[in-house]
């Protein structure tokens, strides 16, 4: 009996000790791509301000469902919602970080950054039209590199994902055949190749299967030290992926050309721009049911724009350019209001 009491007492004490001292936690759900970053930001933010963030990485589809059901304070999605969807649901959408999708290859004799590809060739590889590594279309982009006479195995994401969304958006942009036959989406009807589950699955499969090609988020290619291919961008220059080329893609973009900043960042103009770049987005209500929670959400992301850049770069994400962050703050001040019409965000550009 004494042990019983002791355990009960300890449990009560622990529960009391762990009760949050400051404001209520903010809740969010959605995209898996930025999850590692949001966790790191949440940890640092809680240390600074005492407000915690509870983020459930259930996928973009889940995030959109949850915010529309009003079960969370904000939703996160890799593929932006369209303007009429935002209007109908009364949501405001804004971007948080950028990421790049990079092609990884496993070909004998090809080093990291040695192989050069163009968008049309990449689309035709994934359509099964370009079947061998020594195909003349690949050879002409890679003069002087010896390519083996071997079948190409394209590897794609078997699960629905924002990475696939960005990748197929790019392929639709550069290849009319792709756009007509397969289109853009989190899952498409891949005609050839193997599927791997998650970025990890694709990386593992490409590593194991000789003469394979796959696409992953930049962080996975970097951390797994996989050989990456250079891509030819819109300006005709061959660029290698790194945070400078991703930022170059975002810098030249006109963020206001689509509702809710939902522009496509693929195939942007700019000599240094990486052609397969994308952003990840947050959704909040224009007139939320719980304005004090959404005010906290905006404070969190404002802090992230100001002080979260180093953490983002550590994890191989690309921070949003400051000019865009200011535009986002302007939208918050103008659009997000509480019941009495008072804006929830002060709206001072830093």
């Amino acid at each position: 009996m004494k042990l019983h009491h002791a355990i009960f007492g300890t449990a009560l004490a622990l529960a009391a000790a762990s009760a949050p001292a400051a404001a209520a936690d903010i809740t969010g759900a959605g995209a898996t791509f930025p999850f590692p970053l949001y966790s790191k930001w949440a940890e640092a933010y809680k240390k600074e301000t005492g407000t915690g963030l509870n983020y459930q990485s259930i996928g973009s589809g889940g995030g959109i469902r949850q915010i529309k059901a009003k079960t969370v304070d904000f939703g996160a999605t890799d593929s932006p919602l369209k303007g009429d969807d935002l209007e109908k649901s009364g949501l405001v959408q804004f971007p948080t970080v950028l990421g790049g999708v990079v092609p990884i290859v496993n070909v004998q004799g090809i080093q990291d950054g040695q192989l050069k590809l163009s968008g049309e060739v990449l689309a035709d590889i994934y359509r099964g039209q370009v079947k061998k590594w020594n195909d003349p279309r690949i050879a002409e982009l890679n003069q002087g590199v010896s390519l083996p006479d071997a079948n190409i195995t394209p590897v794609y994401r078997s699960d629905g994902s924002g990475t696939t969304s960005i990748f197929t958006d790019y392929l639709s942009n550069v290849s009319a055949d792709w756009k007509q036959q397969l289109g853009t989406g989190t899952t498409v009807n891949w005609p050839v190749g193997l599927g791997g589950k998650g970025n990890e699955g694709v990386a593992a499969t490409v590593k194991q299967v000789v003469n394979a090609i796959g696409y992953v988020e930049y962080a996975y290619a970097k951390q797994n030290k996989m050989p990456v291919a250079q891509m030819r961008n819109k300006d005709g220059a061959f660029v290698a992926p790194d945070d400078k080329t991703f930022a170059a893609a975002a810098a030249n973009a006109d963020w206001n050309s689509a509702p809710g900043f939902g522009i496509s960042l693929v195939n942007q103009a700019g000599a240094q721009a990486w052609p397969i770049t994308g952003a990840t987005f947050i959704l909040v209500y224009k007139s939320p049911d719980r304005p004090e929670q959404v005010a906290e959400v905006l404070k969190f992301f404002d802090w992230a724009y100001k002080s979260g850049d180093a953490l983002a770069a550590d994890l191989d994400y690309v921070p949003l350019p400051d000019a865009v962050a200011d535009q986002v703050r302007g939208v918050w001040a103008k659009e997000i209001k509480d019941k009495s019409g008072k804006p929830l965000f002060p709206g001072n550009p830093s």
Partner: protein, 331 residues
């Protein structure tokens, strides 16, 4: 005192005995009723949950059944999310073929294990091997998947697919079934092998129990008239336990049909139907596991409809298994 207890007089006998032992407490009747009600509630809860699952899956999948019709959905081959065309046949074919391969590989091995453990093994070896087989059942599914992807797939690619490709390339029927364009190690066959490992413990332990239940007198009479061990197994044990072995196999089949994570890692995840077992494919469970997170609208209904198809198939298999095992004759 000699009390004649017949079916009718049990009640009075009970009362008489308990009156002789201690005064009958009125609270006993109430607590008995409460106990019965609670037990009934538990049973009804399970039944309600089962019916609820089936009903909610039918409801969730209804848009797709209405749009394509049951036959078109089950027999269709295209799974195109962008154009909202859904056909379940490649997933169903993948589920059935991986389960079939698992049975073809797993059943002989399980029978061998059961025969060895009950008839042939020395007593000191029975415990370790028996425990090892049970532990095989306790390995988490996702661990099987990771082992399959990182260990088994490269081995299959190097030692099975590459030599096989050289041998069967161009052969008419055998070539179509066994040739793989890319020896990647992942595919229907590898998924079948992993599933075989997963169902061996189930089939082996049920079969082992069935063999143990056969009266020793039958075996000893067979040995007594001069049968060899093989003849005893072939002509005495297997026919006696026959029906329940079928039941055990169907239990294993039920597990193989629904297994998700292990299969998702190694099946190659291609939404296409191929003739070759070494080509990548997909199963119903792997399709759902892959796409459900990001699914919206008609795609989600299609995945729920797939789940409904799997639920019905597995339910039927398990119901048949239970019926068969219950028919074991008790001596």
């Amino acid at each position: 005192m000699h009390t004649q207890v017949t079916a009718g007089s049990v009640g009075q006998g009970e009362v008489a005995l308990s009156q002789a032992a201690s005064p009958r407490r009125p609270a006993l009747a109430v607590s008995d009723q409460v106990f019965r009600a609670a037990a009934l509630a538990c049973a009804l809860l399970v039944l309600t949950v089962l019916v609820g699952i089936l009903a909610s899956m039918l409801y969730g999948g209804w848009p797709v059944f209405r749009e394509f019709g049951l036959v078109d959905f089950v027999a269709g081959s295209t799974w195109d999310v962008n154009n909202d065309r859904y056909g379940a046949w490649p997933a169903i074919a993948g589920t059935l073929s991986t389960a079939l391969i698992a049975l073809v590989l797993g059943v002989p091995i399980s029978l061998g294990i059961a025969v060895f453990l009950t008839q042939l093994s020395p007593p000191w070896l029975k415990r370790p091997i028996g425990t090892a087989v049970e532990i095989l059942a306790a390995v988490p599914s996702i661990v099987y998947g990771m082992w399959g992807l990182f260990v088994l797939a490269p081995l299959v690619a190097a030692y099975v697919q590459v030599p096989l490709n050289q041998v069967v390339e161009g052969l008419p029927i055998v070539g179509t079934i066994l040739y793989s364009q890319v020896p990647s190690g992942t595919g229907i066959a590898t998924a079948g092998v992993i599933l075989a490992f997963m169902i061996i413990p189930f089939i082996a332990s049920v079969t082992r129990d069935m063999f143990d239940q056969i009266p020793t007198v039958l075996r000893e009479s067979a040995y007594g008239i001069g049968c060899t061990t093989w003849e005893v197994v072939r002509h005495v044990l297997v026919p006696q336990a026959g029906v329940s072995i079928i039941g055990a196999i169907m239990l294993g089949l039920g597990r193989a049909l629904g297994e998700t994570m292990a299969v998702t890692f190694v099946v190659g995840n291609a939404n296409r139907l191929s003739a070759s077992i070494f080509e990548p494919g997909s199963t119903i469970a792997s399709r759902i596991a892959n796409e459900f997170n990001e699914a919206l609208g008609l795609q989600m209904s299609a995945l729920i409809a797939l789940g409904c198809v799997l639920f019905v198939v597995t339910f039927v298999v398990l119901a048949v298994a239970r019926a068969l095992i219950a028919r074991v004759k008790v001596y």
